[in-house]
C-alpha cells in the first residue's frame, strides 16, 4: 500500500509500518551477512534445532544500556549472538552540513553537542583545525590552559564511562559515586566558562577569558583529592569478583584485529597498540609534558577498564605539570583579523568594535583551496576535522572524523559470538557517544 505522497507505508506486503524499506534492508543484511562463526554454528545446526533457538532481537534504539540511541539488530542462537547489525543515525543532525552554512566561530557551539560527555575536547579540536587552516599562532598561556581543561574533560568522560559501565553490570551505587566526581568537574567548568555542560570556552586563536583565581583553587583541590577517589574505586573493583567475571574475556580483540577494524583510543590501546595522538602528533604542549600512554595486551573489556583507569591518573599528572608550568601572558592571539579582539578594545575603541562586528559577520577567511586535517586525542580516541576552504568565511567542507563511529564499527564485530547478556557490557566498555557517532 502506498499513500498519496508515494511512500510505502503500512500494508500487507510489509510487516513494517514505519520506514519499511529501511527495516527490510537491515533484515536482508542480517540474513546475508557472513560472519566468522557462521560455519561452526552451521555444523551444529545439522544436529537439529528441536527447541527452535533461533531468534532475531532488536535492542534499541530506546534502551537504557545503549548509551543513547543505538539500535542493535541481532540474530541469536539461544543466548549466543550469531550475527549483529548496528543501525545508527537516530541522532543524525547533519552537523557537517550545518558547518558549511556557518562561519568558523559560529560553528563552535555545535561541537559541544557532538561528544557531549567531554565538550571541551571538541571545542579545542575545532579551534586547532581552524587555526591550522588559517595559520594562527596561539599564545602559550592559552595552550596550557586548553591542556588543563582537555584533561579535565577526559576525566569527566571516563567518570561517566565508569559509572554507567558499572551500572550496566548491576552496581548502581558506583554511578552515584562517580557522578559526585563529575559534579566537582562541573563546578570547575561552571566557574571557568559559565556553563556546566556545553562550555564553548575555547575561541579560534585562544580562549574567551582567562581562568579566575577561584577556578584555579577548584582545579588544585580537585587534583589533590581525585587521586584518593581513584584509589577508592581501585580498592572496590580491581579485586571485585563480580566485576572481573563480567569483564574478563568479553569482547576480546587481538592487536591485529583492533588495527584492522580501526578502533581508536583506549579500545585500541587495550589491545596493545600504543597509538595516542598526544604522542603521535603532539599538539598544544603535549610534547613537553611527562606522561605515560597506558596499554594492555589482553584486549578484553577488563583491559579497557584498566587502561581508562590508568589514563585518569595520567591526566592528573599532566594537569599538575600544566599548573606548575603555566606562564603569564595573553590568552588570545592579538590579531584582530584572525581572532576576536578583547572586550576592552571592543568597548573603548572604534577599530575594536569594527573588528568585533566583522569577525562575527565574516570571521576568518582561509585562502582558497586550503585543506588540512587536525586530530586530537579526545577521551574516545582520535577526533579530527578535515577542513576545506573556498576562500570565504564558511568552510566549504568540514569532515568530522568521529572516534565513536569507528569504535561502533568494531562493536558490530565484537558482539558476534558473545552472549546477549554481555552485549550490554560491551557497549559500555566501547564507550560510544551517539551525538558524536551520528554527527
Amino acid at each position: 500500500m502506498s499513500d498519496e505522497s508515494g511512500f510505502r507505508t503500512s500494508g500487507t506486503e510489509s510487516v513494517f509500518r514505519f520506514w519499511p524499506r529501511h527495516n527490510e534492508a537491515i533484515y536482508e543484511r542480517l540474513e546475508s551477512k557472513h560472519v566468522w562463526l557462521e560455519q561452526a554454528l552451521r555444523n551444529k545446526a545439522k544436529e537439529g534445532d528441536p527447541l527452535e533457538h533461533e531468534m532475531i532481537l532488536n535492542i534499541g534504539p530506546q534502551h537504557p544500556a545503549t548509551h543513547g540511541v543505538l539500535r542493535c539488530v541481532v540474530k541469536m542462537d539461544g543466548e549466543t549472538i550469531e550475527k549483529s547489525v548496528l543501525d545508527i543515525g537516530y541522532l543524525h543532525r547533519g552537523v557537517e552540513k550545518l558547518a558549511e552554512h556557518k562561519t568558523y566561530q559560529e560553528f563552535m557551539p555545535y561541537t559541544d553537542r557532538m561528544d557531549y560527555i567531554a565538550p571541551y575536547s571538541n571545542n579545542v579540536a575545532w579551534c586547532l583545525a581552524v587555526e591550522k587552516l588559517v595559520g594562527i599562532d596561539v599564545p602559550e598561556r592559552a595552550q596550557w590552559l586548553r591542556m588543563i581543561m582537555c584533561e579535565l574533560a577526559r576525566i569527566s568522560s571516563h567518570l561517566l564511562w565508569l559509572g554507567v559501565g558499572l551500572m550496566d553490570a548491576g552496581a548502581v551505587s558506583v554511578f552515584l559515586w562517580t557522578f559526585k566526581g563529575r559534579e566537582d568537574l562541573y563546578r570547575i567548568f561552571d566557574e571557568v566558562a559559565g556553563a556546566r555542560f556545553t562550555v564553548s570556552h575555547s575561541r579560534i586563536g585562544g580562549l574567551v577569558a582567562d581562568l579566575t583565581p577561584e577556578a584555579f583553587r577548584l582545579i588544585h583541590r580537585f587534583v589533590d583529592d581525585f587521586g584518593q577517589e581513584i584509589a577508592g574505586w581501585e580498592a572496590l573493583l580491581n579485586r571485585n569478583r563480580i566485576w572481573i567475571d563480567r569483564n574478563r574475556d568479553v569482547g576480546t580483540l587481538t592487536r591485529q584485529e583492533a588495527v584492522e577494524i580501526g578502533l581508536t583510543g583506549a579500545n585500541l590501546r587495550a589491545s596493545g597498540e600504543p597509538y595516542d595522538i598526544r604522542r603521535f602528533e603532539p599538539y598544544l604542549f603535549y610534547g613537553e609534558v611527562d606522561f605515560d600512554v597506558p596499554t594492555r595486551e589482553e584486549g578484553d573489556s577488563l583491559a579497557r577498564y584498566f587502561v581508562r583507569l590508568e589514563e585518569m591518573k595520567q591526566s592528573l599528572r599532566i594537569i599538575r605539570q600544566c599548573l606548575d608550568r603555566l606562564p603569564d601572558g595573553p590568552i588570545r592571539a592579538d590579531d584582530a583579523k584572525r581572532a576576536y579582539p578583547s572586550k576592552d578594545e571592543v568597548y573603548y575603541s572604534m577599530e575594536g568594535m569594527i573588528h568585533d562586528f566583522l569577525y562575527t559577520d565574516v570571521g576568518v577567511a582561509p585562502p582558497k583551496g586550503a585543506a588540512c586535517y587536525q586530530a586530537i586525542e579526545s577521551p574516545k580516541g582520535e577526533l579530527g576535522w578535515y577542513l576545506q576552504s573556498d576562500g570565504t568565511g564558511n568552510p566549504w567542507r568540514a569532515k568530522f572524523k568521529s572516534p565513536s563511529f569507528t569504535n561502533l564499527q568494531g562493536l558490530e564485530h565484537m558482539m558476534e559470538g558473545s552472549l546477549v547478556a554481555d552485549a550490554v557490557i560491551l557497549i559500555g566498555s566501547i564507550d560510544p557517544v551517539m551525538g558524536e557517532a551520528d554527527k
Binding site: 499513500d3 505522497s5 511512500f7 507505508t9 514505519f18 520506514w19 519499511p20 524499506r21 529501511h22 527490510e24 534492508a25 537491515i26 543484511r29 545508527i88 543515525g89 543524525h92 547533519g94 552540513k97 550545518l98 552554512h101 586547532l128 587555526e131 591550522k132 595559520g135 594562527i136 599562532d137 588495527v259 584492522e260 577494524i261 580501526g262 597498540e273 597509538y275 603521535f280 602528533e281 599538539y283 590579531d335 584582530a336 584572525r338 578594545e345 573603548y348 575594536g352 573588528h355 585562502p367 583551496g369 586550503a370 585543506a371 586535517y373 587536525q374 582520535e382 579530527g384 578535515y386 576562500g391 566549504w396 567542507r397 569532515k399 563511529f405 569507528t406 561502533l408 564499527q409 551520528d438
Partner: protein, 250 residues
C-alpha cells in the same frame, strides 16, 4: 613623515646660531593598543612553513617517491598545504595504491574516509583516504576524483576493513557508490530517504515531505512535514487530529 623631518631640518638651519639644538621629543606610546591590519587576503594557499601547527608526521616525501616509482602515471599529482601532502590518485587504481601502502609501506591503519562535493569543478566529487603508519610515524592522505556521470569508486574494504562504514557514509551523504562494497546501505539516513544531503544543491533546511516521521497519535497518519508552519503550510490544530481509540478507552 619624511617631509616633516625635512621641514624640521630647514627650520633649524634658519635659526640663530646661539640657540642650542633641542632634539625633538620622542613619540610617546599611544594609550590604546595598536591593532594589526591584514588588508589583503592571500590568494594562493601557502605550502606551509610558517604554520605553527605543522606536524612532521604529515610529510612523507620518500613514500610519495616510492608511490610515483611504483605507479607512475596513476599518481596524478601531489598537493601541499600546511605541511600536509595530499596524493591525487587515479580513481580506478585506488585499491592497488592502498594495498601497496599497506603491504609494502606499512600503512596498516585507516583513520578516515570522506567525500566532498566540489560542485562546479570538472570532476565533481572527491573521496579522500587518511592512512596512518604506526611504525614509520607517518600519516598520508590519498584523494580520488569522480565525475557526476560515473559516480562509482572501487572499494578499499578488501584492503582496509575499517573503511566499510566510512564508505557507506560517503554513499549516504554524496551518493557515490563503491564498487565491490559488501554492504552498500545508507549509514545515517533511512533507505526511504531519496536524496543525498551533503551535496551542495541539497537545501540546508531539508526538503519538506521527504521523510515520513512517526505519527503524533497512536492511530494517526505518518507525518511528512513536522513543521508545516515553517514551509507556509497550515499549522495542524489538536481538534483536527483523528480521535484516538486508546484515549477514549481510558
Amino acid at each position: 613623515m619624511c617631509s616633516r623631518k625635512a621641514r624640521q631640518v630647514t627650520a633649524l638651519a634658519e635659526m640663530p646660531a646661539d640657540v642650542e639644538h633641542i632634539p625633538p621629543a620622542e613619540e610617546s606610546t599611544p594609550s590604546h593598543r595598536v591593532l594589526d591590519f591584514f588588508f589583503t587576503p592571500r590568494d594562493a594557499p601557502a605550502p606551509g612553513g610558517d604554520n605553527p601547527l605543522i606536524q612532521s608526521t604529515t610529510q612523507a616525501p620518500q613514500i610519495i617517491r616510492a608511490l610515483c616509482d611504483r605507479f607512475g602515471k596513476a599518481i596524478l599529482g601531489v598537493e601541499e598545504y600546511a605541511g600536509e601532502q595530499t596524493v591525487l590518485v587515479e580513481t580506478q587504481r585506488i585499491a592497488d595504491v592502498c594495498r601497496f601502502l599497506r603491504d609494502e609501506q606499512r600503512f596498516q591503519y585507516l583513520a578516515d574516509v570522506g567525500g566532498s562535493d566540489r560542485f562546479v569543478e570538472e570532476d565533481r566529487f572527491e573521496v579522500f583516504y587518511n592512512l596512518v603508519s604506526f611504525e614509520k610515524g607517518k600519516r598520508i592522505r590519498l584523494k580520488v576524483r569522480v565525475d557526476e556521470a560515473a559516480l562509482t569508486v572501487p572499494t578499499v574494504t578488501g584492503v582496509y576493513r575499517a573503511s566499510n562504514w566510512n564508505e557507506r557514509e560517503v554513499y549516504d551523504m554524496l551518493g557515490i557508490r563503491f564498487q565491490g562494497h559488501p554492504d552498500m546501505r545508507r549509514m545515517f539516513m533511512p533507505e526511504d530517504f531519496e536524496y543525498y544531503p551533503q551535496r551542495k544543491e541539497f537545501p540546508q533546511m531539508g526538503i519538506p515531505g521527504s521523510l515520513p516521521l512517526p505519527p503524533r497519535t497512536p492511530e494517526g497518519p505518518l507525518q511528512y512535514d513536522p513543521y508545516p508552519a515553517a514551509h507556509d503550510g497550515p499549522t495542524p490544530k489538536s481538534y483536527q487530529e483523528p480521535p484516538s481509540e486508546i484515549a477514549e478507552e481510558e
